[in-house]
Symmetry: C2
Subunit: 335 residues, 2 copies
């Protein structure tokens, strides 16, 4: 007995005390994937001063360039419950930061799904964030949003104003409007001609094997198209507020790829979102007609009200994450 | 005794089994800091098609824009031993990815210093990576490196070649040359007119209180300048291969900021690095003349050979991380 006690106490002593809400990882890291090499020529030699007052540098940009690779950061929880890696794909003009801490500093879905036991991989799409962009792209004017744009375009409110007192949020909105200025810092420039490169890089994530893809907004256009092209790589597709869907004529390719399509609140009163939602509904119907499984959840329809276009940042983001986890469990994708 | 045993066994049962090399975090997340709002006007209205075949969008970029904020990602180990947060600042044309997994997939300094018990904060400087860039910057041609450039400029080798067989690495180089193609994927476009904005955002990290700053290459120019401006915020400065130093006339402002300046191998035979190293030596001498503490370590001088400009990625990156940790311990900054 004494020996057993000693062994137990020794085990306790060498095991660091882990609190219930600690995050225990068996690994973390990052990599770039995909891309190609292109030859750049005809660029003028530039005399650059890299820092004010510095010595001029003769810079020749000609020669082979690496372009169109994609940055991926991953976190592997010690208690793994998700059967497949969970890939988080962001929307237009944003980066993987979408899924990190919310603009008001709460846990985002990245941390939540790590805690739920999923190996989580967060990407920055080609051209965005830590994926960088190429010399060819830099000559084309990217789309860079003024502060007003996301507020009124993504169902946060009806009127943005430099004077916070004059802003008009949609009534009952779950978006943390008081942190809107932090939110707009997450946006990065966006080009409009890079779809094929983005899809190629997302497809290159096949090195991870089959995965669950959770996409947002523009990212769902890529999610549906990658699933159409390589359905064996996608064990499930969770489309959060898709701005576009796939090609309905190819929806049958997803007959073995269960899909959950989620929409927030305030869509009926919006100028653009009823049409965008219609694309998702039509695609889901085409999937079902082909024998596939597509669940469309309008959050207000199940009593969850006030969600903006960004449920991963909304005040009830934990509730939506639980809903997604439960759907994945129903599909047999959680141990 | 039986009661004590039960308690011990119960504690074991509810404590998840944590392996020695697991990473236990009490928190993780990210935020953007700093920046300002500027008014953009005179931009033409553009009809943009966001995805091929999509419905044109009338896009007006005019109005207030958020610019020059900085992205910071943080990891807080459960067993904290560093007395202050450790800030990792990258070099020119790169992002915080510098400190993540090495190009050949080993642990980088981010993970190593988390394991050593430091609260670690990794930034992407203003204009780079997840910090985004502004409409004003997008009109100026950024510096985008061809694949050859970092190989020959940063003491990896003497000749880069598209044919790997013809590449000539410096003999005994610790850089994982076989993963060079992964390495160049980490580079992002760089502007040459953003120093003041970068310094402003780095200084805004004061919201964290006093910190230890570990900088690399161009990032050390910012490290020394922020320490000169706000010495009370910087408890120690670790300058890894600084490409520039501060203003020697202001080195006295660092008399209470101990500095470690580290250089790798192959400097003597390089065209540019002896001059750049001289800037660091002169600054260290000026710090000491003013009563400060500045330690310059030439790695080959202490028998550590083969380091490139990127010791955080070199094969012996763990050995260099240990050296830095020991120096911080000597300075009383590790519990």
């Amino acid at each position: 007995m004494r020996q057993l006690l000693s062994a137990a106490l020794l085990a306790l002593a060498i095991t660091p005390a882990v609190a219930d809400d600690d995050i225990v990882l068996r690994g973390m890291g990052s990599f770039h994937v995909g891309g190609r090499t292109v030859e750049v020529f005809g660029e003028p030699i530039r005399e650059l001063v890299l820092s004010p007052g510095g010595v001029p540098l003769r810079f020749d940009a000609n020669g082979p360039h690496q372009v169109e690779a994609m940055y991926v950061q991953y976190f592997l929880p010690q208690s793994r419950r998700g059967k497949y890696p969970l890939l988080l794909w962001h929307g237009g003009g944003m980066t993987g930061v979408t899924y990190e801490s919310t603009p008001d500093g709460r846990d985002g879905w990245l941390t939540m799904f790590i805690r739920k036991g999923f190996d989580v991989y967060v990407s920055d799409a080609v051209e965005r964030g830590r994926s960088g962009f190429s010399l060819a792209m830099s000559k084309e004017a990217p789309m860079i949003l003024p502060k007003r744009n996301p507020f009124e375009r993504f169902r946060i409110g009806t009127h943005w104003d430099a004077d916070a007192e004059k802003m008009e949020a949609l009534p009952g909105n779950q978006f943390p409007v008081e942190a809107y200025d932090n939110f707009v810092k997450q946006f990065v420039p966006r080009w409009t001609t890079t779809d094929n490169a983005i899809i190629a890089a997302y497809t290159a994530v096949e090195k991870l094997g089959a995965s669950i893809v959770l996409c947002h907004s523009q990212g769902c256009g890529f999610g549906f198209r990658v699933a159409q092209a390589r359905p064996e790589l996608v064990k499930a597709l969770v489309a959060v507020e898709p701005a576009v869907a796939g090609d309905v004529d190819q929806a049958g390719k997803l007959k073995d790829v269960p899909a959950l399509i989620l929409y927030g609140d305030f869509i009926g009163g919006d100028a653009r979102w009823p049409h965008m939602r219609r694309l998702g509904l039509d695609y889901a119907a085409a999937m079902r007609a082909a024998g596939g499984s597509a669940d469309v959840v309008d959050l207000p329809g199940i009593g969850i009200r006030g969600n903006s276009h960004f449920p991963m940042m909304d005040r009830n983001n934990g509730e939506i994450a639980d809903l997604i986890e439960n759907w994945l469990r129903d599909k047999g994708l959680v141990n």
